[in-house]
C-alpha cells in the first residue's frame, strides 16, 4: 500500500476528532534498574532504533534555557532520540541540536555515578567512592549544628541551572538560610531589570507576537542560537520573513546566525545600541510618527518632557557613536513606526551586558511605547511567566503550586536583628538609610549586596560574580557551601578567583557539589553527589509563551537514573530527614511522582493524561493581548479605593497600599503591574538607588529616564586597544555542553575572531597565535581603575568578515580541563577521579578514539579557557556582568605572516 502525505493528513484529522481510538504513548518510567554500564555504541548501531517497539515519552528539554516540550524514544531502557512535542504551543514542536545533547550527557562514559569523597588536599583530584549513607550522614552532621546554633545563613547554596521551580528553595527555606545564590547576573540581570522597571516584577521577559509581526528591530539578540528562553522565536521569525515578508533588522558586533538570516545586519560599535535607539525615538517623535494617545494613556512621563530629553540624541550623534549611517537610522525608525502596531523591538545581551546596558535596554523598550505596539497583534506583548498563582495575567488559570506544607522564608535582616549585627559597620549604615520596603528584602551581603540594591529590588537576582570575592573578604562567614550544577570555577569572570576561594579551606570549610559530570566546580568539592539527569527526573515547567497563551508542562523520567545517581529532590529530602529539627516535615513524601501529582492537583485533566501529553493549555483562552486594558472585576472594584491624583485603584494590606488597577476614561482597567499601573518609562528607583549607594548622580546608571553615554573605558580608545567580546555557539549552552559529543564535534574551539582589516592592522592571519592582555574597567565598578592587567591569554586567530573592526570575539565555552575526555579534546582525565564513574572503561576508550580533533591525532584541540582574564565587572546598581565591555591589547606571538614583510 502506498501511503501519501495526504493520506496521513486525513488520518491525523481522524485521530484528532477521535474517530480512531488513540492508544496513548507509554508514560510510566521503566522500573528496570539500569546498572552502571551503558550499552556500547557498537551494540547500539547493531540494534537499530525500532519506532514501533520503542516507547515515546513526552518531557521537557534541559539542553539550554529555552525548555522546549520534547518526546524521547526509549528502547531497551536507553533514550535513543529526542524530538519535538507538537503539543507545545511555545516551541511549536521544534527542537535544536541541544535536545539530543541530553542523551550525550546521560550516557556519557565519564558521568558521575556514585557519591565520592575527597582523598588528600582539596583540588588534588583524588577521590574514593562512598555510600549514599556515608555521604548524607557526613553532610547532615556538618549542616545540623548551624541550624541548631541559630546560624543557618552559614550554609550557602549556590546554583547554576536549577529548574526545580522552587523545590531547592523549599530546602533552603526549611533549613533557614537566605543564601540561596545563583548566576543570574552572569546571564541576564541587566536585561531583566529594565523590563521589570517598565512593566513590573511579573515581566522579566516579554513575548513578542512574531506570528503576526511585520517588522522586528533586534539590538544584540541572537534568538537563532542562544537567547535565553528565546529559541521559541526561531520558527516564528523565519515564517515571518519567508512567508510574510517581514523585515528583521539586526544590530550586532559580529555575524551571528541571527545577523546572517536577518534582512539587514549592521555591524555596530559595542555598547552603542542605546544611542541608536534614542536617535530612532527622536526621529519618530520629530516626524509625528509617535502614537501620542497611547503614550499619554499609559506612559508615566510627560510627552513634551520626553521630547526635550531626546533633543541631543540626533541621528548624526548616533552615527558617530555606532558607525551606522544617520540616514539608515532614520529610515529604519520610520519603517518601524509605520509598521505599528505590527512591529516590535527585541534585545538581549548584546545591548544589555554593558556599563550603559540597563539604560540602553530602557531606550530600546521606549520605542515600543512610543509607537503604541504594546500588547497589540504583531507587537510587543506580555504573557504570563511563572507558576500559576492567580498573579497578574493568570486570572482564570488553575493554581499550580508546590504541595503544602511549605516552610516560611527566612526573615529579613532588618536593623536590630541578630543577623544585622553581624554586618560590617559601613554596610549597617547603608542599610539603615534604605527605605523600609528595601529593608524588608535585605538578607545580607551575599544574597542582597547592599551596593547593588537593584539586583534585588524587583526580585532576588543577586550578583553571582561577587559571591567568591565577598567570601574572601569575609563579608559572610561560611561553614557549608553546596554547589548545584554550577560552573563558577570555570565560567565566572575571573574564575581563578572563584577557584582560589573554593580551594581555601579556611574560607570554605566544607564544599558539597551536586552534578552530573565531573566539572571544574566539582573538582574543588569535598563530597560529590551524582545528580539524575533531565531524562531521569521530574520537574514542573512554565514560562512565558510566544504563542501568547499560558501553558504548563511536565519533565518526567524516561529512564531510571544510571548507576547510583539520584534526583536532586531526593537528595534534599534525605538530607532534610537526616538534619531533622523539624525541617523533615516539609519533605514528607516517598515517591517523587506523588509529590508532582499533588503539585498539579488542580489541573483540569487527570495526571495520566497530562503525563501522556506532556503539556497542558486552555486552548479556548483568549490570547494575551492588551492585558492592561482588561477590566477589573466589579467585586474587586467594590473592595478597592481610588487615589484621586493617580487614578489608581488600591487595596490596603498589612498597612500598605497595593495597586490593582487604574481608571482610564472612566473605566477601571488592570493597567500594568507596576506601582503606578502605568509603563514606568521614568523610574525614580534609579536615582534613589544611586543616592543611597554613593553613585554620582552624573553616572549614566543614576538616570530616571532612558539615556546614553559611552562606556567609560571605551572613551578615547587608543589605536592598539580593542573590545573583547564573547558569545555562545548554537550547539553549546554555557560551560556545561563541552562534553556533549555531537556538540563538541561541531564546535570544539574558540579562536579569536576578527575582521580582515583588524588582522591586517595586527599583521596576523587565520591560524596565527596572538596574546591578549585585558584590563580593569574604568567606571564605578568593582576594582575599577586598577592599572595592572587582569590577565593574558594566548589563542589562535580566525579572520571573519563582518566583524566590527574594533571588536575581537572569542566563544566562552571551550578549553575545559575537566568534564572528561570529550571536553578535554581527547586528553585523558586524571585517573583517580574516575572512582565515582563506570569502572569498565571500554566505552570511554572507544569514545576517546573517535575524537578526531584531538591534538594527539594532529587535530586543533579543544580551545582555550578565557574566563580567567575577564575582570569581575558588575554594572552599577543592577550588578549584571558587563561581559562585552572589556578592553584588551593584542600582540602577535607567532605565525606565517611576518609583519616585517607586509607592504
Amino acid at each position: 500500500m502506498s501511503w501519501t502525505r495526504r493520506d496521513f493528513l486525513k488520518f491525523s484529522a481522524a485521530l484528532s476528532t477521535g474517530a480512531l481510538a488513540g492508544p496513548l504513548l507509554a508514560c510510566s518510567p521503566s522500573t528496570v534498574s539500569r546498572g552502571s554500564i551503558p550499552e556500547s555504541l557498537a551494540a547500539l548501531r547493531e540494534r537499530r532504533l525500532d519506532y514501533r517497539k520503542a516507547r515515546a515519552v513526552p518531557t521537557i528539554c534541559f539542553g539550554c534555557t529555552t525548555h522546549c516540550g520534547v518526546i524521547g524514544w526509549v528502547q531497551d531502557d536507553r533514550v535513543r532520540l529526542v524530538e519535538g512535542n507538537p503539543l507545545d504551543p511555545n516551541s511549536q514542536g521544534t527542537i535544536c541540536s541541544k535536545a539530543n545533547g541530553m542523551i550525550s550527557y546521560t550516557d556519557y562514559p565519564e558521568r558521575i555515578l556514585y557519591p565520592m569523597r575527597r582523598v588528600g588536599p582539596r583540588g588534588g583530584g583524588r577521590w574514593k567512592r562512598i555510600s549514599w549513607d556515608q555521604a548524607l550522614d557526613e553532610i547532615a552532621d556538618r549542616m545540623r549544628p548551624l541550624r541548631e546554633a541559630g546560624t543557618p545563613e552559614r550554609f550557602v547554596f549556590h546554583y547554576g541551572r536549577d529548574k526545580t521551580k522552587g523545590f531547592s528553595k523549599r530546602f533552603t527555606d526549611a533549613f533557614g538560610t537566605p543564601n540561596r545564590l545563583n548566576r543570574r547576573s552572569i546571564c541576564s540581570s541587566n536585561r531583566r531589570a529594565p523590563l521589570m522597571s517598565f512593566y513590573g516584577r511579573e515581566f522579566e521577559w516579554e513575548s513578542q507576537d512574531l506570528e503576526r509581526t511585520k517588522y522586528v528591530l533586534n539590538f544584540g539578540g541572537n534568538p537563532m542560537e542562544a537567547y535565553q528562553g528565546g529559541l521559541f522565536m526561531r520558527k516564528r521569525l523565519i515564517d515571518a520573513k519567508v512567508d510574510r515578508g517581514a523585515r528583521i533588522v539586526t544590530f550586532e558586533v559580529r555575524p551571528s546566525a541571527t545577523a546572517s538570516v536577518s534582512t539587514e545586519y549592521h555591524a555596530v560599535a559595542p555598547a552603542s545600541d542605546g544611542a541608536i535607539a534614542l536617535a530612532m525615538a527622536r526621529t519618530i517623535v520629530d516626524e509625528g510618527l509617535a502614537d501620542r494617545a497611547f503614550w499619554e494613556r499609559w506612559a508615566n512621563w510627560d510627552f513634551d518632557e520626553m521630547r526635550a530629553h531626546l533633543e541631543p540624541f540626533t541621528s548624526a550623534f548616533a552615527e558617530a557613536e555606532s558607525g551606522v549611517a544617520a540616514t539608515d537610522i532614520e529610515r529604519i525608525a520610520r519603517e518601524f513606526a509605520r509598521s505599528a502596531p505590527a512591529c516590535c523591538t527585541m534585545s538581549n545581551r548584546g545591548s544589555a551586558k554593558h556599563y550603559n546596558g540597563v539604560q540602553a535596554d530602557r531606550a530600546i523598550r521606549m520605542l515600543d511605547v512610543l509607537v503604541g505596539n504594546v500588547g497589540r497583534p504583531g507587537g510587543f506583548c506580555l504573557s504570563s511567566l511563572r507558576m500559576w498563582k492567580n498573579r497578574y495575567g493568570q486570572e482564570g488559570l488553575p493554581v499550580i503550586d508546590q504541595p503544602a506544607p511549605r516552610p516560611h522564608a527566612p526573615k529579613p535582616w532588618k536593623p536590630g536583628t541578630r543577623e544585622f549585627e553581624t554586618l560590617p559597620r559601613d554596610v549597617q549604615e547603608r542599610v539603615r538609610a534604605f527605605p523600609e520596603e528595601w529593608q524588608e528584602r535585605y538578607f545580607g551581603e551575599l544574597a542582597t549586596p547592599s551596593e547593588y540594591p537593584l539586583s534585588w529590588h524587583w526580585y532576588a537576582m543577586r550578583v553571582g560574580q561577587l559571591v567568591h570575592p565577598y567570601i574572601q573578604q569575609r563579608r559572610q562567614e561560611v561553614d557549608v557551601y553546596m554547589s548545584y550544577t554550577l560552573g563558577a570555577a570555570y565560567g565566572f569572570p575571573e574564575a581563578r578567583l572563584a577557584r582560589e576561594v573554593l580551594t581555601d579551606e579556611a574560607l570554605i570549610p566544607f564544599h558539597v557539589a551536586i552534578d552530573v559530570s565531573y566539572g571544574e566546580q566539582a573538582a574543588l568539592a569535598d563530597i560529590i553527589l551524582p545528580d539524575a539527569t533531565s531524562l531521569e527526573r521530574w520537574d514542573a515547567h512554565s514560562t512565558n509563551s510566544y504563542g501568547l497563551r499560558p501553558y504548563t508542562g511536565i519533565r518526567q523520567p524516561l529512564v531510571e537514573p544510571l548507576g547510583e545517581a539520584r534526583p536532586a529532590q531526593i537528595i534534599w529530602r534525605d538530607l532534610a530527614r537526616r538534619i531533622g529539627g523539624g525541617m523533615e516535615r516539609y519533605f514528607d513524601f516517598d515517591d517523587l511522582e506523588d509529590y508532582y501529582r499533588a503539585w498539579y492537583a488542580e489541573l483540569p485533566i487527570d495526571w495520566e493524561t497530562f503525563k501522556a501529553r506532556g503539556i497542558w493549555m486552555d486552548e479556548d483562552r483568549p490570547l494575551d493581548y492588551e492585558l492592561h486594558e482588561r477590566e477589573v472585576p466589579a467585586a474587586e472594584v467594590a473592595r478597592a479605593e481610588i487615589d484621586p491624583e493617580s487614578q489608581t485603584l488600591f487595596v490596603q494590606k498589612d498597612g500598605k497600599r497595593h495597586t490593582i488597577g487604574i481608571v482610564r476614561d472612566g473605566r477601571p482597567v488592570r493597567g500594568f503591574p507596576t506601582p503606578s499601573r502605568k509603563i514606568e518609562v521614568r523610574d525614580e528607583t534609579f536615582p534613589l538607588a544611586a543616592r543611597l549607594t554613593g553613585l554620582p548622580a552624573s553616572d549614566i546608571n543614576a538616570s530616571a529616564v532612558p539615556t546614553y553615554a559611552r562606556v567609560p573605558e571605551h572613551v578615547d580608545l587608543s589605536d592598539d586597544e580593542y573590545v573583547l567580546t564573547t558569545f555562545k555557539w548554537n550547539v553549546h549552552t554555557q560551560g556545561r555542553s563541552a562534553y556533549w559529543k555531537h556538540a563538541a564535534e561541531i564546535v570544539h574551539t574558540n579562536p579569536v575572531m576578527m575582521a580582515p582589516v583588524t588582522a591586517e592592522r595586527l599583521g596576523v592571519a587565520t591560524g596565527d597565535e596572538v596574546e591578549l592582555t585585558t584590563y580593569r574597567p574604568k567606571g564605578a565598578s568593582d576594582r575599577s581603575g586598577e592599572r595592572d592587567p587582569v590577565g593574558r591569554l594566548r589563542n589562535r586567530v580566525r579572520v571573519v568578515p563582518g566583524m566590527h573592526p574594533r571588536v575581537v570575539a572569542c566563544a566562552h565555552h571551550s578549553g575545559h580541563w575537566e568534564h572528561g575526555v570529550v571536553a578535554r579534546g581527547g586528553e585523558p582525565t586524571i585517573a583517580s577521579a574516575r572512582v565515582g564513574m563506570n569502572a569498565d572503561t571500554s566505552e570511554l576508550d572507544a569514545l576517546a578514539r573517535e575524537i578526531w580533533w584531538s591534538k594527539d591525532r594532529g587535530g586543533v584541540g579543544h580551545g582555550v579557557a578565557i574566563n580567567d582574564v575577564y575582570p569581575i565587572n558588575p554594572a552599577p546598581l543592577v550588578g549584571g556582568q558587563n561581559w562585552f565591555d572589556n578592553v584588551c591589547r593584542i600582540r602577535r606571538v607567532s605565525g606565517q605572516k611576518d609583519p616585517r614583510t607586509r607592504a
Binding site: L25, L49, R234, K235, V242, A257, S260, T766, P801
Partner: protein
C-alpha cells in the same frame, strides 16, 4: 506552504495504526531561505543511527559569503552514508533530520510519485541541485531553494570533513 506536522510523532497518535512510508525514490528539498545553521538535523541523524564522530550522513556548512558580511547555511548530504532513514520510514515517520528541523527548511518526499507534494515544491520554488566539481559523494536527489552561486566552489568532499573547508565550525588542524 507544506505541512510539517504529518509524519511526526504526536502524543495522541499510536504508531501501531500508521502504515509504513513506501518510498520508491527518496528525495529532499532544502529551503535555504529557512535554514538557520542550527545542526539539529545532523545531530538528530547521528543520534538516531548511533553514527560515530567524524562520519557524516549530512553536515551543515557555515560558509562565509564572499560579498556580504554574513554566513550562508547549507546542509550537505552524503550519497553513500545517508540511508533516507529506513527505520523512520518503516514506522510511517518522516526521516529524523526532517523531523528535527526547527524552521521547516527540510522536506522529504518520493520523487517517483507525481502526486507527492515535493514535486510541486521543487517546481514552485525553482529548487536546484548542488553541483560541486570536487565532490564525489554528494547525495544526488537533494534540491535546494535559493542556492547561492559561490557555494559549489566551497564543497569539497560532500558532507565529510576536508582541510580546505572555510567554515568557522568543525575546526580542523591548523585552521
Amino acid at each position: 506552504m507544506y505541512d510539517t506536522s504529518a509524519g511526526r510523532p504526536h502524543p495522541s497518535v499510536s504508531l501501531d495504526t500508521v502504515p509504513p512510508r513506501d518510498v520508491e525514490r527518496p528525495g529532499f528539498l532544502v529551503d535555504l531561505r529557512r535554514c538557520i545553521g542550527c545542526h539539529a538535523c545532523s545531530v538528530a541523524c547521528k543520534t538516531a543511527h548511533a553514527i560515530p564522530l567524524g562520519e557524516f550522513p549530512l553536515r551543515v556548512r557555515w560558509l562565509p559569503r564572499p560579498d556580504e558580511k554574513t554566513f550562508a547555511f547549507v546542509p550537505v548530504f552524503s550519497e553513500s552514508r545517508c540511508t533516507n532513514d529506513a527505520e523512520s520510514l518503516s514506522a510511517g515517520l518522516e526521516p529524523a533530520c526532517v523531523r528535527a528541523c526547527p524552521t521547516a527548511a527540510l522536506v522529504f518526499g518520493d520523487l517517483a510519485d507525481p502526486e507527492d507534494a515535493i514535486h510541486g515544491a521543487i517546481a514552485e520554488l525553482e529548487a536546484t541541485r548542488l553541483e560541486a566539481p570536487d565532490a564525489d559523494d554528494l547525495k544526488r536527489d537533494v534540491h535546494y531553494v535559493e542556492l547561492e552561486d559561490f557555494v559549489s566552489g566551497k564543497i569539497h568532499r560532500g558532507a565529510q570533513l576536508d582541510p580546505r573547508d572555510e567554515d568557522p565550525i568543525y575546526e580542523q588542524e591548523g585552521r
